[in-house]
């Protein structure tokens, strides 16, 4: 049984390498994947691209929150926003962006100048809503957007309080 299992594994490795060498969907043998945040430096998702807004970690997020100037934007849906968000954030749910003129919507919802510091987050490593929202805001001329990809989870993990509103139904 052990001998058969080893042969099967070797065969799988050979097939995998051979097919990956010719497949149009091939991937590198060692990928660039981020580990869970240890609090040192920002979490950067694998799908981040050149030209994306900068990513910040818990220390920077905390500092900016303490300074109180930056606008924190939660990109998750309203119920999740209600059930635990970074205090003082506003909610711009990426999945429910209205049809029509997004630029106008951003301007009226955010209510800050285009160069105002904005920090976008969602719930953490599994969530890419913050990245998508940040790209959109950047495209509509917001120049000072940062992404706190560790999100509400990293925020809570490092001892910061989350704000819960009465609309939360969980």
């Amino acid at each position: 049984m052990v001998r058969q299992a080893i042969i099967l594994l070797l065969l799988a490795v050979v097939l995998a390498l051979a097919v990956n060498a010719v497949s149009p969907n091939s991937i590198p043998y060692v990928g660039k994947w981020r580990e869970l945040s240890s609090g040192e430096g920002p979490v950067i998702p694998p799908e981040a691209e050149e030209g994306d807004p900068p990513f910040i970690g818990i220390e920077v997020a905390r500092m900016e929150h303490d300074q109180g100037e930056a606008l924190f934007v939660d990109a998750r849906e309203p119920m999740e926003f209600a059930c635990g968000t970074i205090p003082g954030s506003i909610n711009v749910p990426f999945d429910y962006l209205p049809p029509g003129d997004l630029g106008q919507y951003f301007d009226s919802t955010l209510g800050v100048p285009k160069d105002h510091p904005i920090i976008i987050f969602c719930s953490g490593e599994e969530c890419d809503l913050s990245l998508h929202l940040a790209r959109n805001m950047q495209a509509f001329g917001y120049t000072n957007v940062e992404i706190f990809f560790g999100g509400s989870r990293e925020w809570a993990e490092f001892g910061e309080p989350l704000e819960r509103s009465p609309e939360c139904e969980q």
């Binding site: 058969q4 042969i7 099967l8 799988a12 991937i27 694998p46 998750r76 989870r153």
Partner: protein, 147 residues
Amino acid sequence: MRAVIDNDWLTMVSRLILGITFIYASFYKIIDPGSFAKSIWYYHMVPGSLINMMALVMPWLEFLCGVGLILGIYFRGSVAWIGVMLMVFLIALVSAISRGLSIDCGCFKAAADATGSAWRSLIFDIVLIPFLVQLLLTRSRRWMIRP
């Protein structure tokens, strides 16, 4: 009991159910290892440097073991790997569900959906375990090419 477990037809049914499931499951992963690698990453259970190799090799192991069960080639080795993989999936799913519920992530494109599908996968995994146990115990070697 022994006679039931060793029954050739029952063994064949278990081989087909597990074999077809694993071959079917391997297809999209073999075709699109990049997406599968990302799925593995989401679990945060595998070191980053190993994720891509795992995403490349595991689907082929699923495929080979599925074929091994159905045709009866390297039967014992195939059953062993399928057992290992079912256990790995079980642990990963339980861990993901337990963390997912506490994370309340609206993400994954569709959070509710993602949690729902994890539950479905977990139930499916558990349903397959009796067939695995039967194949581990059976002495039937009928309709096998090279067990």
